[in-house]
């Protein structure tokens, strides 16, 4: 969203500068501006409009302008706080896991070993599995307390089975989502590893840096920029995680795994409350933009340090 709003003035400024060359840039800009309008502005304005309406599909006749009532209702709803907290926990945990494991896997896969290419493909494969499918695989094949692989392992070790989605709902979701996003981090960081000048590593070796020091003083600084990219990209997608929750816990038990996105879904499609859902959506947009501002700061910071 913040991209849309910054792109438009940028384009306008370029148009003005272009006047010196006597080129009419409007016909060239118009399609993209129009597309932006249709894809971004119209839905945004509609959402804003609906959020100020009483609009429930179950009672279509009771429609009308209600001002900020939808917002007041949602912000005073304790579910919203839970949802925001859950969103932060889920996003934060998955980011942490994917950066840590992504870095380790990237460093490992960058080594030369037999079957390297196959290993790379296998590690990256989960990224290409659609979220609902991934969630189903985990729900039925891995985490199921009766016929799941994990239960089978823990039981054969005499530890008994865990009912994952009952007892550890958030952890389960985190595991599933991390499984999907670690490959993305690995992919980005692996390509970054391949661009690491190997003479730099050799210089560090001659300077007496052991494997851990080389990781700490050469690899990590080299990866700092791609890591910020990973964090930014993943945040955008993690804020809107939905299918994994729908397929496994449906936001429960209680509201234990209800994120902002899922709350909007509950409001809009389960209670048919378009007005309330729109208000929740606007709040989500505001929160996402706050996050985006911070992320941009961080990225700009790491870019400047070079």
């Amino acid at each position: 969203m913040s991209q849309a709003t910054t792109a438009a003035p940028g384009a306008a400024a370029r148009g003005r500068a272009g006047r010196g060359r006597k080129v009419n840039t409007f016909p060239l800009l118009a399609p993209s501006v129009a597309a932006l309008l249709v894809w971004m502005i119209v839905p945004l304005v509609l959402t804003l409009w609906y959020s100020l309406q009483r609009y429930n599909l179950l009672y279509p006749e009771r429609r009308g302008f209600v001002g900020l009532q939808n917002y007041v209702y949602i912000l005073s709803d304790s579910t919203l706080q839970t949802a925001i907290l859950n969103t932060i926990v889920l996003t934060g945990a998955v980011l942490l896991l994917s950066v840590v494991f992504g870095t380790l896997l990237a460093v490992l896969l960058n080594q030369e070993f037999w079957g390297q290419n196959l290993a790379r493909v296998l590690v990256i494969a989960p990224f290409f599995v659609m979220p609902p499918v991934a969630a189903l695989i985990w729900k039925t094949m891995m985490m199921n307390p009766i016929q799941g692989v994990i239960a089978w392992v823990t039981q054969s070790l005499g530890l008994g089975a865990i009912s994952w989605f009952q007892n550890w709902p958030m952890l389960s979701i985190i595991i599933i989502v991390a499984w999907q996003w670690i490959p993305f981090a690995t992919l980005i960081l692996l390509t970054a590893m391949q661009s690491l000048d190997h003479e730099q590593m050799e210089a560090a070796r001659m300077d007496g840096a052991g494997a851990i020091s080389r990781f700490r003083y050469v690899v990590i600084p080299h990866l700092s920029r791609p890591i910020t990219i990973v964090i930014m990209m993943e945040t955008i997608f993690l804020l809107s995680v939905f299918a994994e929750i729908l397929v496994t816990t449906s936001g429960g038990p209680g509201h234990a795994t209800t994120t902002l996105t899922y709350l909007i879904y509950i409001r809009a499609l389960l209670s048919f409350n378009i007005g309330g859902a729109s208000a929740a959506g606007v709040i989500a947009i505001v929160l996402a933009n706050i996050v985006a501002v911070f992320l941009m700061r961080i990225v700009a910071g790491t870019l400047e340090r070079r």
Partner: protein, 369 residues
């Protein structure tokens, strides 16, 4: 302060012999240059000395101790890489002090040593900058500084000047020579540029396809190349190589038949040279000069005026090209047919398969070297 000894050192990659047995003794404080065409194994040999590449045969001795299995950081050698390989996220000072920091040296001592190296290399004002904000020459000096700070037994350089422009290269060449004096250190320097080799080396090692072709002082290699490869590689423009046959060999002189009616008489003789045997005559461009009559005839095809001297490229009857370098004001014109004489005492002679034939006589190279 170090001597390096290579005894039959070999490098075998999976199905490729990169280094095919090299014997070499580098004495203390010597400046040795490895030179050779691209892919001949210069870098591989240097990296084996550094410990970055495993030695698959033979022994490497550092100060008389076998070092094949000593890890790179404990060999006491410092390397300057072609790409400089500076750590981009560290300042110049941090880059230069990294090795000491890894060795656990106290901060104050690191600062002193880095300051000292920075003074030698005139980097004092740049100590807080990152490598990304330095010019190529400055980066090069930081890379050298990183080596100096460690106070190594020997410095290893892998084409350190090849990323610099011509003017800077000349300047850095002089600076490196000065450093060698100042630091009193053993240095091994890899280059494919024979001018760098000639100007800096105490001794040049000419490598070709993983083998040593010749080892010697620059002038020794210039005047007495051991074979046609070295003759062609050292010196620019290249030595002229002319096919000939031995016409007569008597005591004191050797007569050559050039095949086109011309003939040359070289002072000195070699017992093994039977009349009729094919040989290759090697003539440095500056030993040739224009004359009214002479053994070589050709048509001037290209003239290059370099200011102090001029190069004339002649085409001989058989299609061979000969280069003449002369400082005199000659006014041969393009397309003109000219004759050349040669200072025969400076000529080299090779067998048909490329080995030098030493004619017994007084050698000017000895007098110079």
């Amino acid at each position: 302060m170090a001597t390096l000894t290579l005894n039959g050192v070999r490098k075998k990659y999976e199905r490729f012999d990169a280094i095919k047995g090299v014997d070499l003794a580098v004495t203390d404080r010597e400046f040795v240059v490895f030179v050779g065409p691209s892919g001949c194994g210069k870098s591989t040999l240097l990296r084996m000395i550094a410990g970055l590449e495993e030695i698959t045969g033979g022994d490497l001795l550092i100060d008389g101790v076998r070092a094949n299995d000593i890890p790179p950081d404990r060999r006491g050698l410092a390397m300057v890489f072609q790409s400089y390989a500076l750590y981009p996220h560290m300042t110049v000072a941090e880059n230069m002090g990294f090795a000491l920091r890894m060795a656990g040296v106290a901060k104050a001592e690191i600062a002193t040593k880095v300051g000292e190296a920075a003074r030698i290399l005139q980097l004092e004002k740049l100590l807080d900058r990152r490598p990304g904000k330095l010019s190529g020459g400055q980066r090069q000096r930081v890379a050298i500084g990183r080596a100096i700070v460690r106070n190594p037994k020997a410095f290893l350089f892998d084409e350190p000047l090849s990323n610099l422009d011509a003017a800077l290269r000349v300047q850095m060449r002089i600076e490196l020579a000065r450093l060698h004096q100042e630091l009193n250190a053993t240095m091994i320097y890899v280059t494919h540029d024979q001018v760098e080799a000639m100007t800096m080396a105490d001794r040049i090692v000419v490598l070709n396809a993983g083998k040593l072709e010749q080892v010697g002082s620059p002038l020794e290699l210039y005047h007495n190349p051991a074979n046609i490869f070295v003759a062609g590689f050292i010196g620019a423009p290249k030595m002229n190589l002319v096919d000939a046959k031995v016409a007569a060999a008597s005591a004191g002189e050797t007569r050559l038949d050039l095949g086109d009616g011309g003939g040359v008489v070289l002072p000195g003789a070699e017992a093994g040279l039977a009349p009729g045997s094919p040989v290759v005559l090697g003539l440095r461009p500056e030993t040739l000069s224009f004359a009214a009559t002479g053994p070589f005839r050709g048509i001037v095809r290209v003239i290059e005026h370099l200011g102090g001297e001029s190069l004339y490229y002649l085409e001989r009857a058989g299609g061979d090209t000969m280069v003449v370098k002369t400082g005199e004001a000659v006014f041969a014109r393009l397309g003109e047919s000219v004759s050349l004489t040669v200072r025969t005492e400076r000529a080299s002679l090779f067998t048909a398969d490329g080995k030098a034939i030493g004619l017994r006589r007084d050698n000017p190279a000895r007098a110079v070297a």
